[in-house]
Symmetry: C2
Subunit: 396 residues, 2 copies
């Protein structure tokens, strides 16, 4: 009775639920402390203390109608103005509130962008491995997802393959750096090459090809690696930003879309994003948290927690024979599975109470993702289990 589009998703969701319940079952049998769940991306760094302080301040100082009331579907103008000012300073750009639409997280942002851009059958390019939801978001608007491979030694886009796959139906390319699931950050050179190729193809095809940079992990970066700011490298560019990870507020659904002023059809696109926010049912990004983040633009979570986790886990896993590109950001490790069948590998890992996600979920089989946004102690305790897993495959 449910719609055809939802049928497969509901079936698939039952598989995910079964996995989740398997984790619960293991915890019930062996005790929660003996099960090592690396499957979820729920940030475990605490939100900055300011969040609570600012909530109190806002509730005490601003009239309820201006905290909990309706506003422009794009969000409070003063909030958008503060973000624009912050970004101008930080990235040496020149935007205003008019370049920004407040969104229900990056997921809401990507959906209003695709609603705005896609006609049925329009193509959207992503680089595997990629966040599985991109397929669903594109499918919401009857677009066609086109997958381009990456070099599995670096997880950088394969430019030759990209060149072949861009055609007159290509409406957008989604990138995600720092990346889920690999933790890789695209260097300035990668971005420059991508921009050059896209510009060349736009000229050749006479079309607009938009670059959408999905950046929920922008602030989760190690070793002072720089994440290039896309708006400076490519004209037809958007950034979908989220405070879910940068301020550990994933449940609050707060983020924004920022658009390059010089893009094709800027005015129509900004109005369309506003209308899409309304008609897709978001209406507006949650109002109190719009005000909260505007007062916490300089705040950050303690990224060193994640870096410590990365170091421990990356060093140990590679020492015992696993192969893995060293992540420079986000909180994921994407290891190569010692057998081709990544689903079987994850089943095997479960024998040692290790819960991982198969690379197939990111359309990159032969790999598995570990989310290391867990307690350091837990990681320490899990190391013997990884060692047993490695030995069972005769690694090293």
């Amino acid at each position: 009775m449910i719609s055809s589009k939802m049928k497969d998703l509901v079936a698939n969701s039952s598989i995910i639920r079964a996995m989740f319940e398997e984790g619960k079952r293991l915890s019930d049998i062996y005790g929660e402390e003996n099960v090592f769940d690396y499957s979820l991306g729920n940030p475990n760094a605490l939100p900055p203390e300011n969040i609570k302080i600012e909530i109190n301040k806002i509730l005490n100082e601003i009239a309820p109608k201006l905290v909990h009331g309706y506003m422009n579907n794009s969000g409070y103008e003063d909030v958008r103005g503060k973000i624009a000012e912050f970004l101008n300073k930080k990235h040496n750009i020149d935007i205003s509130y008019n370049n920004i639409v407040m969104t229900c997280g990056a997921a809401g942002g990507l959906n209003i962008l695709l609603k705005t851009l896609l006609n049925p059958e329009d193509e959207v390019i992503v680089f595997a491995p990629f966040f599985g939801e991109y397929r669903n978001y594109v499918n919401n608007f009857d677009g066609k997802l086109v997958v381009v491979s990456t070099d599995i030694d670096t997880f950088e886009p394969n430019m030759e393959s990209l060149k072949e796959k861009i055609n007159s139906k290509t409406k957008a390319i989604i990138i995600n750096s720092p990346n889920n699931p690999t933790g890789v950050i695209y260097s300035e050179k990668v971005i420059q090459d991508l921009a050059n190729l896209m510009n060349q193809k736009q000229d050749e095809l006479g079309t607009s090809i938009y670059l959408i940079s999905d950046e929920p992990y922008r602030e989760i970066v190690y070793d002072n690696v720089v994440v290039p700011y896309i708006l400076k490298y490519y004209t037809n560019s958007f950034i979908g930003y989220s405070y879910s990870k940068s301020l550990s507020l994933p449940g609050e659904r707060i983020g924004y879309v920022v658009a390059n002023t010089n893009m094709d059809c800027f005015d129509d696109i900004m109005i369309s994003l506003n209308v899409a926010n309304r008609i897709l049912g978001f209406v507006n990004a949650p109002s109190l948290f719009q005000r909260v983040i505007a007062n916490c633009l300089e705040a950050e979570v303690d990224v060193s927690i994640y870096q410590k986790n990365r170091d421990l886990l990356y060093n140990y896993l590679t020492k015992i024979g696993f192969v893995c590109v060293k992540p420079q950001g986000a909180f994921y490790l994407f290891i190569r599975t010692p057998i081709k069948d990544d689903k079987k590998f994850c089943e095997d890992a479960k024998e040692f109470k290790l819960l991982l996600v198969a690379g197939s979920a990111f359309e990159c089989p032969g790999h598995a993702r570990l989310s290391y946004c867990v307690d350091y102690k837990k990681i320490e305790n899990s190391l013997p289990a990884f060692e047993k897993l490695a030995k069972s495959y005769n690694l090293k």
Copy 2:
């Protein structure tokens, strides 16, 4: 360059914006106190004092990860459980957390419902006048909106016309009581007649026809009129609820969908609503406010403010010759325009600094909507303007 589906909406949005800017322009010229804006449905009753108290309590007593973190896409189980318990007691029903999905307001709820139910070309019936967004929501999923008229002396559904319009493509009927824009509440008899007809048609056609009751105004009710609880009258029924008006929190985007346990395909539908919440980009209803409303289930805004406004405005307008069904709920009056052309009437009203919305926006021409969620004093001050407007049409 924007998608075809968005093109008309963007054009239309410019008209709305022009109207809005016209209001601003009038305020600039004549002073804000001399412009009477009855066009917006932004609730002006204060949120209950508990909201602030509960936010503080939650932030002080519950771990941040359980306030701001990810949870099941359907929402916190304990929050859903508390709502179920509250509804069981209030309406003498028997549901659990499993019947409820927390949503980003009623708008988010309607979108996940339609995503779940609609295949392209499936039909959704609404009764004119209706909230204009229904057309957009149905269009999001390529459904077809079918409009059934109401009796303009009562604004109750025309059952004969409904009977003719239900066919094998009919997937759902949306009702909205208390109604935007008329303020009418459907009596138990209307609901019973509707349920009987729908049951008869389901038997005849061998299909499932779902009843979706959009209830953001459920608590905004006058003179102790009872709003029948749909789940008790029809098996294939959903309610889309919102705290936007009942607690004056429209910017916070918090509400829920509740489904009748005995409906066709209940299990698949509940999973699908969960998945739709995720893939449409809502992910989950804002987390802090899930907890806030769970602690404020007995709270309410001061409805007497709206009742006072209604009484003043309804009594005065009918006294000076306007024709209008007396609203029993919500905060709208839907007057019959003395000329056929409702857009022209609204233009004329603007001459007297009265901002109204033409009935055409609700697909019921020959009427105009007044939102009376404004200050009482403002209404008093606007009465001479209404009198001049009436006189200009030689009413009474």
